[in-house]
């Protein structure tokens, strides 16, 4: 199996040259590798997408898909996993989707340690709505809704994920296909909540490719304190002096929500539930 086996006949509507193409390629490659390694079957992959440019990816994979609502990727992933823990769930979210509309769900996804991989396409801008600031835009960012400069400070999703209990936290760059694919594979193999933030410059509304390209350096996983220190070393600001850590910040093991709740593939365990007599059920109220 190779990446092309995941193609669909749907015409791609991302801007020509969009960095999301690289993410699409990396995910397809990672999935093909996992299938070839026998780690899972193609039919088990299930993508959940939010709303935004990132989410169009739903149409471009031939895998099970749930194209949900803006910001609501984590609860849909939770529902899928609680209903069928055999599905390999990949969530796709943007910085606006995950951190503005869906902030509460983002935190709880990490806290639940849901066994799923959450890809955060971070371009620091709302692109599908033609360019407004998001919670990761740098201070003072000038965009269509903030022509006089953003009054907000950015939030750091890597710090947030670490503090909220995610058990695998990484950051990669969309244009570094090799490292992105490798980290995605690790994240998909990880048992528990895996967050992969992908720096994904928007070539139409916020092209920072030249700016970030020399500022990244690779890190190795460390303990939680070390991971937090690494994560805090860049807070999404845009000074020339910044250095951007990429790679896996943190990886640990903890029981998953699915294990704690004790779920199964309900529709396979009970193709139809046994008919209950009302007498049996109501007996306790006699």
């Amino acid at each position: 199996m190779n990446a092309n086996d995941f193609n669909t006949p749907v015409p791609n509507t991302w801007c020509p040259g969009c960095t999301n193409f690289m993410i699409l390629a990396a995910v397809k490659k990672a999935m093909a590798d996992l299938v070839n390694e026998g780690a899972c079957k193609k039919e088990q992959f299930t993508c959940v997408a939010g709303i935004g440019c990132h989410a169009k990816i739903y149409d471009y994979f031939d895998i099970n898909g749930f194209y949900g609502l803006h910001g609501r990727v984590p609860p849909v992933m939770a529902g899928i996993r609680l209903a069928n823990p055999n599905l390999k769930v990949l969530g796709f979210s943007g910085d606006g989707d995950a951190l503005a509309e869906g902030m509460a769900h983002f935190i709880h996804f990490c806290r639940y340690n849901l066994d799923a991989t959450y890809l955060l396409h971070n371009n620091q801008i709302f692109a599908l709505t033609t360019g407004q600031v998001t919670p990761t835009s740098e201070p003072g960012a000038v965009a269509k809704s903030t022509p006089h400069g953003s009054p907000f400070r950015p939030i750091n999703p890597v710090v947030l994920a670490l503090e909220s209990g995610a058990t695998f936290v990484a950051r990669e760059y969309a244009l570094d296909l090799q490292n992105l694919t490798a980290t995605l594979k690790r994240a998909m193999k990880h048992k528990g909540a895996a967050l992969v933030e992908i720096l994904q410059p928007c070539i139409t509304f916020k092209d920072v490719r030249e700016f970030v390209k020399d500022k990244m350096y690779r890190i190795e996983p460390s303990d939680l304190e070390g991971a937090l220190k690494n994560a805090r070393s860049w807070n999404y600001t845009k000074e020339d002096s910044i250095r951007i850590p990429v790679g896996v910040f943190y990886e640990t093991q903890y029981p998953t929500l699915e294990e704690k709740v004790g779920v199964k593939v309900w529709h396979e365990a009970y193709p139809e539930r046994p008919q209950r007599s009302t007498e049996e059920l109501w007996e306790r109220f006699k």
Binding site: G65, H105, H108, V265, W266
Partner: protein
């Protein structure tokens, strides 16, 4: 014969439990009991009371005047003493017809202070001239504390030396089922084969969450409390997509948060049962009191146009039956099933002498996916066969308009095709609802009382006291799809139509007009957070038809 018992005390004193024990002791002797719970939104110290109407005939409402009362606190006595002809009090209370020295009894028996309540129940049994056998049986509910409570009850019985006002014995009655609307809904969900229940706590929907959580291991499903109602509704759709049979529950404020996800149900066509238990609104309103004011919201929730069932059972037994129907409809037609109750139906206890008889069986009804499975296949009836992901094929669910495979589309012909598919499905589903007895008629008169939901009990109790040759009750159990033909049939030849609703504006009058063009002659509304009693309906109807 019917008598009313009032049990009142401070929040945290165990009023609800004592009332339940007393009620169950009566149902064991074959009486019918309706138990109304009145409690404020606080945990300790406020005033709680329960009104139990005990009758030799079926009963579905309470009254505001009692024949017998037990007051467990001074505040309760001072507030409610005028509502009763007779009162037993505890050693903590100054006043009443007879005071039981509960503190002495708990000391003597070595029982915890809270068991003092049970002493008053023992005393009450002496006051009504009955032996304590049924009370002793009902005390089994206390489990490992049953025996100590029996001792305390016996001491209370012995200690009572006041007057006896006999409660007539029920002859030959069989023990009935004593059950709240919430418990009946939970059991209906279990009977329908639910796999997962998601909720965020909100009164008065929370008891369903509690009951389902308690029973989840016994019947092997799971109850999960998620971070908010938005997560609840979205997770439910995720689980439904993955093949599970899912229900969610909330009250008005929570339903508002679910609105976008319910709209997603409309286009994704993922089976979902959403339980709404209404309280007095708007906004936070009066959290622990009742009302039917959210009905138009429920009928219209979710942007865009899509079909839904709005199911409005009237008592506990029907709540069980209609819950099964809610699952049946959502699984068979992939429409949203909104199952609607209110504080009054959810938290009152009903006595039913027969078991629920669901008209249908709910089935999961999944097909096996093929490699070329179409999640939104266009079929004769508009219902696309549903499969679960994981074994074969690529399955899709989407919030965007889509083609038969579930890929995003924007072209006019495909939009029309898919909207028409869902429209066809809505018609098929409407016919199925018509077979579920969406309208019930009681009595034969030309003066019609038209209502829906939890008002059923009070109206039936009123009907028993009114001239049934002149008054009839038309009860709606579905408001969407609106059972137009059955309603028109039931209203044919009516001299007057009176709509009854626990709301300010009586939405039902407008709903009737919207669907049939018929106008009601009168409305009877109540909007103080309290439910109707049978007596109130009798008085108001007499004035209307005089």
């Amino acid at each position: 014969m019917e008598k009313v018992f009032l049990i009142a005390g401070d929040a945290g004193q165990g009023i609800a439990k004592s009332a339940e024990i007393l009620a169950k002791s009566f149902t064991k002797r074959g009486y019918y009991v309706f138990n109304y719970r009145d409690y404020p939104s606080l945990i300790r110290g406020g005033l709680n009371f329960n009104m139990l109407k005990v009758s030799t005939d079926p009963v579905g409402s309470h009254e505001w005047k009692a024949d017998y009362a037990v007051f467990l606190s001074q505040q309760a006595f001072d507030t409610h003493k005028d509502k009763t002809h007779f009162a037993i009090t505890t050693s903590e209370v100054i006043g009443g017809d007879f005071q039981i020295n509960t503190s002495e009894i708990v000391q003597k028996t070595g029982a915890p202070a809270i068991a003092g309540n049970t002493a008053t129940l023992g005393a009450l049994y002496k006051a009504i001239g009955h032996d304590t056998q049924p009370l002793m049986e009902a005390l089994a509910d206390f489990g490992k504390h049953a025996d100590i409570n029996r001792k305390v009850a016996w001491e209370g019985f012995q200690a009572y030396t006041g007057k006896t006002t006999p409660l007539p014995q029920k002859e030959g009655g069989k023990p009935g089922y004593f059950i709240s609307g919430s418990c009946a809904i939970a059991l209906g969900a279990i009977a329908a084969g639910m796999d997962l229940y998601f909720a965020y706590p909100m009164t008065p929907a929370t008891p369903v969450l509690h009951v389902l959580a308690e029973l989840e291991r016994e019947f092997d499903y799971r109850t999960v409390q998620l971070e908010n109602e938005i997560a609840v509704a979205n997770a439910a759709l995720g689980a439904s997509f993955a093949g599970s049979n899912v229900m969610i529950g909330t009250s008005g404020g929570g339903l508002a948060l679910m609105g976008e996800a319910l709209s997603l149900q409309g286009i994704s066509e993922l089976p979902l049962v959403a339980y709404l238990s209404m309280r007095t609104g708007p906004a936070t309103g009066v959290p622990t009191y009742t009302g039917q004011g959210d009905i138009k919201f429920a009928l219209n929730i979710g942007h865009g146009e899509f079909a839904r069932a709005v199911i409005v059972p009237g008592d506990a037994k029907e709540a069980h039956e209609r819950t099964v129907e809610a699952f049946y409809l959502t699984r068979k037609f992939r429409v949203l099933s909104l199952l609607i109750s209110d504080k009054h139906l959810s938290e009152s206890n009903y006595t039913h002498d027969s078991l629920p008889e669901p008209r249908v069986n709910s089935e999961r009804g999944l097909v096996k996916a093929t490699d070329s499975h179409m999640s939104y296949k266009i079929t004769e009836e508009g219902v696309s066969p549903m499969a679960a992901p994981g074994v074969n094929g690529t399955l899709r669910a989407t919030s965007y308009e889509h083609d038969e495979y579930g890929y995003t589309i924007e072209d006019e012909p495909t939009i029309l095709k898919m909207v028409n598919k869902r429209l066809k499905k809505a018609r098929t589903f409407e016919q199925a609802v018509n077979k579920l007895e969406p309208v019930s008629v009681y009595g034969k008169g030309k003066h019609v009382i038209l209502s829906w939901g939890s008002t059923k009990g009070a109206i039936l109790d009123a009907l028993a006291r009114l001239d049934q040759a002149s008054v009839k009750f038309v009860q709606l159990s579905y408001l969407a799809p609106f059972p137009k033909k059955q309603v028109e049939e039931a209203l044919k030849g009516a001299k007057t139509i009176t709509a009854v609703e626990n709301s300010v504006t009586c939405a039902l009058a407008g709903i009737l007009k919207e669907h049939t063009g018929l106008e009601v002659d009168h409305t009877i509304v109540k909007y103080d957070g309290r439910p109707f009693t049978g007596g109130e309906i009798v008085n108001k109807i007499r004035r209307v038809i005089a």
